[in-house]
Symmetry: C2
Subunit: 223 residues, 2 copies
């Protein structure tokens, strides 16, 4: 206080790493992965593409930062619940819904699985695996298996969601898919053709959680 206004005074609209990342998230959500370019991002921030490089090293770092911001929000919002089993389901649902809402997050998680975003999820799952009473070395195995499953399914689900225009709804999508599977070669794809009938009315989230329960049942059985 008491200092006179000078060049050091922050302008409202000054560029910063945070503002850039926020704008990138908006662009990714609105236009999809291909909509994020340094030119489009710069024009949204009313500057030139070169200015962004003062704050961020390259596009890879920008994507990691955007993913990390979204995932940090997700894990912070997972509700506290009674049992480790419930907690793991809560984390799973959180990640699933986040990737469903921001499909580019899924692609990023699988492209750079050693970065902080993945670690945030791993940490939360790990604590609950510990709480489950899993012993020493098996904790790592169990947490890794759960993490891979959760991220894997979420990505596949999000990719399916983008298969058709948003106007095509879920039921139509499943009907189309079911019809396509039924037309597969009878000799090559007997199983796929048989389960094609189950596709209409399929509940992705329920199916996903059934898989979680399967892994948790396996963990319990292996103890």
């Amino acid at each position: 206080m008491g200092t006179t206004k000078r060049g050091s005074e922050r302008r409202e609209d000054a560029l910063s790493r945070e503002r850039i990342v926020d704008a990138a998230i908006e662009l990714l959500d609105e236009e999809g992965e291909s909509g994020l370019t340094f030119r489009s991002l710069a024009s949204r921030l009313a500057t030139g593409p070169g200015a962004l490089y003062w704050h961020i090293a390259n596009k890879g770092e920008l994507l990691v930062a955007a993913t990390d911001a979204v995932i940090a929000r997700t894990v912070a919002q997972v509700p506290a619940v009674a049992t480790p089993h419930e907690a793991i389901r809560g984390i799973a649902v959180g990640v699933f819904e986040t990737i469903d809402a921001h499909p580019w997050v899924g692609a990023q998680l699988s492209r750079a699985p050693w970065e902080t975003p993945t670690l945030r999820i791993f940490e939360r799952i790990g604590r609950q695996v510990q709480a489950l009473g899993v012993s020493g070395r098996a904790q790592f195995t169990s947490a890794s298996a759960l993490l891979s499953y959760i991220v894997g399914v979420s990505i596949q689900n999000a990719a399916n969601g983008r298969l058709f225009e948003p106007s095509v709804d879920r039921a139509d999508f499943l009907d189309t898919m079911s019809a396509r599977w039924k037309q597969l070669d009878a000799h090559e794809y007997p199983f796929t053709r048989k389960v094609a009938a189950q596709l209409p009315g399929h509940d992705d989230l329920a199916e996903f959680l059934a898989g979680i329960d399967l892994i948790l049942a396996g963990i319990a059985a292996s103890r």
Copy 2:
């Protein structure tokens, strides 16, 4: 036989969808995903980029075709074994090793999970789930869970493999990663810090198969 040689005679080096896809696989394996461009591919085939578009619609189709060729080979080579449990482990190992050898296959499987390559794997797993005696609707859930886990882990494993230069070997990589995890904030990452000690000597394939066994134990327990 007996026809005179004409324009319809096939030149040895004539372009074809098959030759293009084979060259694309070579390029992807040698140079990685960013090494495949229509220009580099065309020059390898001693033609111009435009020529390729006579045989293939676009880059997406080229990637799907390349992935499909590799995965078809993989599933064809899975050995016949005694039990469904063994068979599922065999498929899992096949996919794991394929993605480890061709990391771009993993990226492609998660980018387009509804295409034939994924379906080929799903079909093989499904048949074994059926052989396991899993009932009706649960077959779909079990096969999907296994598929997601197998593809998910394989992609993460392959991404880790590309983290550093090929010169950096596995042991060094794990040591570096372990050291990095130990430096994480003690309050934010207690679990990750604790399991960091288990990282050196970690056997990815063994850990992966332990996860498969976990899911199979869950399937057995849920029956």
